[in-house]
Assembly symmetry: C2
């Protein structure tokens, strides 16, 4: 049996579905600030091909929330990850925030480099690591890179890659309901149902500490559990063939809901056998 569910140590991960409010109540950024507790934040704009403007936007958004000590980390290419000046940016930081763009830029530019090492160190000594959009996707061991939105999943239609692996046994997708990404998340889970598929709406986040997360923000977080799947055509079918997959267990979570990744269950309810019992009743 795999050790499901990412028993993690280290600080909190705040995983954001993109499009978080930066001007109004800022529920999500406020949560990031709360964990920073006035400390220094590294804004990593690595995911972007054109990072201009990101820093100013977040600087403004965080300033009102009591975070004044904000520095930008950008690396144009992998060679720069050895630059001592870049690495010194992490000195004394209480957290790192990855902004959006292309998750493949994060993994390809900083994966297995001293920059990644600094991020891990901050995480391990209890700092907060937050990421939005591409910065959310890269959190998992295997990350979703590309796949069509707004349609059902076709077998040949997914690009996955190794992420930073801050959280195990999950695959994370973002801008989820807004861009119609249900199909591709189910397709990803079909590849290996060990992985829980987690789809996060815009302006919505999960705050993960140890193996449990809580949902904050305006939208939903969807958890697709393939553990009970009885059939899928993912390994058999032609690339243009639509997905077939029976018995996905799906949880729709919103603000205030908690989920236990180790138990693969919403945190407030009983064992899955309760669900089985209600189901058996319905079957007569």
């Amino acid at each position: 049996m795999a050790d499901h569910g990412s028993k993690r140590s280290g600080g909190p991960l705040i995983i954001i579905g993109g499009g978080e409010d930066r001007e109004g109540e800022r529920v999500i950024l406020r949560e990031v600030a709360r964990h920073l507790n006035g400390g220094k934040l590294v804004l990593a704009t690595v995911a972007s091909h054109q990072p201009e403007g990101y820093f100013e936007t977040y600087q403004k958004a965080f300033a009102d929330l009591g975070i004044e000590d904000l520095v930008e980390l950008y690396v144009n290419d992998r060679a720069e990850t050895l630059d001592p000046e870049k690495l010194r940016l992490f000195d004394g930081a209480a957290g790192v925030f990855f902004s959006g763009g292309d998750q493949l830029r994060i993994s390809s530019q900083i994966g297995d480099t001293p920059v990644e090492q600094r991020v891990r160190e901050i995480h391990e000594r209890g700092g907060v690591i937050a990421g939005t959009s591409a910065g959310a996707s890269m959190m998992s061991e295997t990350m979703l890179v590309k796949g069509t939105s707004g349609e059902s999943y076709k077998i040949g239609d997914l690009h996955m890659a190794p992420g930073l692996g801050l959280v195990r046994d999950v695959i994370i997708d973002q801008h989820f309901a807004e861009r119609g990404r249900f199909g591709r998340l189910f397709g990803a889970v079909a590849h290996n149902p060990r992985e829980l598929g987690i789809g996060i709406d815009e302006d919505t986040a999960l705050v993960l500490q140890d193996s449990r997360f809580e949902v904050i923000g305006n939208g939903c977080v969807y958890v697709a559990d393939g553990a009970g799947v009885t059939h899928s055509n993912i390994a058999e079918a032609r690339p243009e063939r639509a997905l077939s997959m029976y018995d996905i267990r799906l949880h729709v979570l919103s603000a205030g809901d908690s989920f236990d990744l180790a138990k693969r269950r919403p945190a407030v309810v009983l064992d899955v056998t309760v669900s089985h019992a209600i189901e058996a009743h319905a079957a007569g």
Copy 2:
């Protein structure tokens, strides 16, 4: 225990998610034609506020498939449903095809009228009743009328109404993955998990005979089963609140898959206990 699952007699229902191919291979219209077996088809354009052009399009599409005897039924308003000339259109018909538009126009204009009676008679004596888009939605007893697409379900955000009730204990949605309607289908199912939520992609259809349907076409059919749901906030929450709902069982079906509405199971696999057993194994 409710008599789940629509044990039906009568002819086949062909329920189409909209946007069916009308010029190429026409897999779905070909299936309609096959059931007509050269017989007369009534094209009901009632759902449309501006039905001009529909008839010509379908006439052309069906002509190549051997269906030459096609007549159009349109009613501007409810009073016209008593018009003997309109009612004579059904004489000798082997089937009825409802084109798209607004499902509320179908139910409000022909619900409980002699026109609806004619449709039922054709169905009961074994004729085929097909419907695409709005014509799909209206097939169920309770139909989905409105609700936002492309975002997660907010509690206050759904308009349902009584449909024609040709199939029981299901709620049907269409243009499903393409318009991002997962959220609203889960919301509909949350209202009463007795109803199976069925979401049909474009150029995709289910062919229902007795209590079993088969999927044809290019996309997917999603079946959301709320029988095992352990928690939902549908009755408690404020209208702007996002949905929370645990333990939905979801099936992703595509061409060739069959589903048994009476058993609430994909037709080729064993009992739900198989899914429970695999799940128990994963839980260690």
